[in-house]
């Protein structure tokens, strides 16, 4: 496999990745060499060296597809193919994607660019690509059967259109879409404004990622493509926490985050410590007068949201989907609630039959993160990822915004854990407890109207 870096170094071995395909070399002659990426790391922004200049984006745990200029036309080459995506260290999924990864590489162009995209199909079935949100000729919209013939396996088709309006877009198949999207076929598209735009600000850091969801049976590798709602792997760019890189910023950087949702449910994306404004959707930039401050924005199915804020506050700030199950990795959805259930004696009895059995869930699910017990292969625990103060007890759609005073511009590497200044952290109260003020009429021993038995973890278990 060849990384984008090799491409820039002019390595001729790039074609090696294609050689194994069933696509004939002759038929590929004259096409831009497809660039293949095997690493799931967040790649540094791809500074444009040809074509119109722009300020590139950073794709979270992803990369931007290089292009070649051909008589003023930007030529890209996408290869649809089966890939192995590392969703987190120790957890690999067998997906379909583009150019070695799922999601595929981000395509960055500038408003007004003429774009020619070669799409080579190395999947076992036909495909097509729909350019979600673009203004283009009807025959380029990519709906197989409606606008074009589906691209047969082994064939290369060409899409060509002008990137008319600036904004945040995505691409995905529109042929056997249910399967191909469930298998991870999708990618990001950013059209940068050609000139200063009244509703589009210049930013210091511009991040983008897609929301996607999979149903991978614990211990297996391939997502269950028939799943409709009961997914167990909720991802940013097909990665789950702790496999998702942090978004880093220098203090007071203006940060833009672009999020697209290709799952089958909405995701309230929530940022800690800062307020942001939704500055754009897939329909274009939001007029300034229509923006309002938020800390959570709901990204509905098939939508894109562009949020912007000033990274004014130092620290490691959580950034996640607010559906709490979406910040978990794979887990059973029919597991009985064991909260408060007394396990004494029964445990011994069970242990005599199942020696490895351990009580879990009696006090809550945090046991899960603490116990570190062996799991099925190719699975990561549902609550995982350690912070400086212990387990973060999060998985799935979770990462952090890391704001540092000294993060150099253009440096996207993880600065490590934030050192909180003395006296700025929650602490244990050890002083005397104040007697709460009561109403004079309040009876101290009166029985409540409804008796509710609650087992509290304070030792009063004799009920």
């Amino acid at each position: 496999m060849v990384s984008r870096r090799d491409f820039f170094m002019g390595a001729g071995a790039i074609t090696a990745a294609v050689a194994a395909s069933s696509v004939s070399r002759v038929s590929l002659a004259g096409l831009p060499e497809p660039v293949i990426q095997s690493s799931p790391e967040t790649m540094a922004p791809l500074e444009p060296n040809t074509g119109r200049p722009y300020k590139p984006v950073v794709t979270l745990n992803g990369w931007t597809l290089p292009w070649r200029m051909n008589n003023g036309v930007k030529e890209f080459h996408l290869v649809a193919e089966p890939v192995v995506r590392e969703m987190a260290p120790g957890f690999n999924a067998h997906l379909w994607g583009y150019n070695g990864q799922s999601p595929g590489p981000t395509i960055e162009v500038v408003e007004g660019d003429r774009v020619r995209i070669f799409v080579t199909n190395k999947l076992p079935e036909h495909t097509s690509i729909h350019w979600h949100g673009q203004r283009l000729p009807n025959g380029m919209d990519g709906v197989a059967g409606l606008n074009q013939r589906a691209i047969p396996a082994g064939k290369t088709y060409v899409y060509e259109f002008e990137a008319k309006r600036p904004g945040t877009f995505m691409y995905h198949p529109h042929a056997d879409e249910m399967v191909q999207m469930a298998m991870g076929m999708m990618g990001f598209w950013v059209t940068h404004p050609r000139d200063a735009h009244p509703n589009i600000d210049e930013v210091d850091r511009d991040y983008c990622f897609l929301l996607n969801a999979y149903d991978v049976e614990p211990g297996s590798y391939t997502p269950k493509i028939m799943e409709m709602l009961d997914f167990n792997i909720w991802t940013f760019n097909s990665r789950v926490f702790p496999g998702i890189d942090p978004l880093v910023a220098r203090k007071d950087d203006k940060v833009r985050i672009r999020v697209g949702n290709l799952t089958m449910t909405n995701h309230p994306i929530h940022l800690h410590g800062h307020e942001f404004e939704v500055t754009g959707t897939d329909g274009g930039p939001v007029p300034r007068g229509a923006r309002w401050p938020e800390v959570t924005t709901d990204v509905a199915v098939g939508q894109m949201r562009q949020i912007e804020f000033i990274a004014s506050d130092l620290g490691d700030w959580a950034f996640h989907c607010h559906k709490s199950h979406h910040t978990m990795n794979a887990m059973g959805h029919d597991v009985p609630t064991m909260l408060g259930v007394d396990h004494r004696k029964v445990v011994t009895q069970i242990n005599s039959l199942i020696p490895d059995y351990m009580v879990m869930g009696e006090r809550g699910m945090a046991d899960m993160a603490e116990m570190q017990m062996p799991l099925p292969e190719n699975t990561i625990p549902m609550m995982t990822g350690d912070g400086p103060f212990g387990s973060v007890e999060m998985g799935g759609m979770f990462t952090m915004l890391k704001v540092r005073a000294d993060q150099p511009a253009g440096d996207y590497s993880d600065p490590g854990w934030y050192q909180q200044p003395e006296g700025t952290q929650a602490f244990e109260w050890t002083g005397p407890l104040q007697e709460p003020s009561r109403f004079k009429s309040e009876a101290s021993t009166g029985k409540p109207a409804v008796e509710v038995q609650v087992r509290k973890p304070t030792g009063h278990s004799g009920h």
Binding site: G332, V341, M358
Partner: protein, 472 residues
């Protein structure tokens, strides 16, 4: 006078000869027992046959049994006890004595007859004295003795078969009893798992996490497990008692223990392509049928030989009268084959002989078929047990391990884990049954080399004690 004297002397010498002939047959039941011991040892592997000639067991036997029962009862110890102690077998052994006595009886001379008559004619008083001997049976004596010998051998063979059948039944009962005991232990484990589930559900309902329906569902598992447990206990008791009966035990003796588990199924099955031929040589019923035919043939010869002298009577008469000189003489009575030329009898004998020949053929064909069937049953039982051992049980174990991992990851809950444990235990239990079936098939295959076995009969695990059913 002289003439008669000579005749008498001749008769006398014939009598001495006959007496000598008859005299060499003596009662020897012990040697019959030894024969049986020899014949059955190949299967039983025991030389513990003895004759309970007294009402009470000899102390040696009693001590040996006590010694064997003190330890967990091993398979061959059970066979040893059964052979020493099964009262049905003891009763059967007396058939040897009876047959031996009949054999001796058959070789004895027919008793001579004596007649005396007194007749008066006027003043004359006449005494008639006669001594007569059935010459026909005398001539037939060597033949009848051979027949009796053959009968004795047949009884020995039948008793041997009874011994072997008892040994086999004892082994089968032992395997069943050990398996039932192991099964009971497994059912206890299942019960425990179900109990844990029911208790857990109860506690979950108590803190409000489970509905009455969910709780009832878990409790119903427990209720059903309890039922299976009862059945397992019943089977354990029944199989233990079956063994007790075969061992002929009572009172304190019945409190023996069994080993905890069945022996492992051998890694490879016996491959016996020539088992049919072997069996034809060793099958006692085939031998018996053949000898039966031979005996009938002898019988037929005898019939032919005595055809005309069937009632040949030699008599000496001594008639004395107070008025006449003593008359001496002999008389020979021969039945004139005027009306009965023994044709019907001969035809009957021939028919019986032919019948026996057909029966022998049937026995041989059945024996071959039974051997093949038993071998097939043995192979299938091995295949099934090996399949459990090599495929099903390891897979079940693997499933349980994977389920444990799923539980660890909170993909499944404790109830699924318990249900899986129950499933795993009952799979192991089914393996145990397959193991037990294999050993039963093995025991039957051992027996079928010597005598008839109906696999389905023994497989039903309800074999009755090998009391002298006399089989065939």
């Amino acid at each position: 006078m002289n003439k008669t004297n000579t005749a008498l002397a001749r008769l006398g010498s014939t009598g001495v000869l006959l007496l000598t002939l008859a005299g060499c047959a003596g009662l020897a039941p012990q040697s019959s027992l030894e024969q049986v011991q020899q014949q059955s040892a190949e299967l039983t592997g025991q030389d513990s046959l003895h004759w309970a000639t007294e009402q009470d067991q000899p102390p040696v036997v009693r001590e040996r049994i006590a010694e064997l029962l003190a330890e967990p009862l091993a398979l061959e110890s059970a066979v040893e006890i059964a052979l020493m102690n099964n009262p049905g077998l003891q009763a059967r052994l007396f058939d040897l004595g009876i047959a031996d006595a009949q054999r001796v009886q058959a070789s004895r001379l027919p008793n001579p007859g004596f007649s005396i008559g007194r007749m008066t004619r006027g003043s004359e008083v006449e005494w008639e004295r006669g001594l007569h001997l059935n010459l026909g049976s005398l001539i037939a004596l060597p033949l009848t003795r051979r027949i009796a010998d053959g009968q004795n051998a047949q009884v020995q063979r039948e008793v041997s078969l009874s011994v072997m059948r008892l040994a086999t039944d004892t082994r089968i009962a032992w395997y069943r009893a050990v398996a039932a005991q192991q099964s009971l232990a497994y059912s206890e484990q299942v019960l425990q798992a179900a109990d844990a589930g029911a208790e857990m559900a109860h506690r979950m309902a108590a803190v409000g996490n489970y509905s009455a329906l969910q709780k009832a569902r878990e409790q119903s598992f427990y209720a059903e497990a309890a039922l299976s447990h009862l059945q397992a206990r019943q089977e354990q008791v029944a199989s233990h008692e079956r063994l007790v009966r075969l061992l002929g035990l009572w009172g304190e003796q019945t409190n023996f223990t069994l080993p905890e588990r069945l022996p492992d199924v051998p890694a490879e099955p016996l491959d016996q392509p020539d088992i049919e031929q072997q069996a034809m040589a060793s099958r006692l019923d085939v031998q018996a049928a053949q000898q039966g035919a031979e005996r009938l043939a002898t019988n037929l010869k005898l019939g032919k030989a005595t055809r005309f002298i069937n009632v040949l009577e030699l008599g000496i008469s001594n008639n004395s009268s107070n008025e006449e000189p003593v008359q001496r003489g002999y008389e020979i009575t021969v039945e004139l084959p005027l009306f009965d030329w023994s044709g019907a009898r001969m035809a009957g004998n021939e028919a019986r002989y032919m019948q026996q020949l057909q029966r022998t053929a049937e026995v041989a064909i059945n024996a071959r078929s039974q051997v093949r069937e038993s071998y097939q049953a043995y192979r299938t039982a091995w295949d099934v047990a090996a399949h459990y051992r090599d495929e099903i049980v390891p897979l079940r174990k693997r499933i349980s391990e994977e389920n444990m991992l799923l539980y660890n990851g909170m993909f499944i809950g404790v109830f699924e884990l318990l249900a899986d444990a129950r499933e795993q235990i009952s799979t192991v239990n089914r393996y145990l049954q397959a193991q037990s079936d294999f050993w039963v098939a093995q025991s039957e295959l051992d027996l079928v080399r010597f005598g008839p076995v109906t696999p389905s009969e023994a497989n039903s695990a309800s074999t009755t004690p090998a009391s002298p059913a006399g089989g065939h």
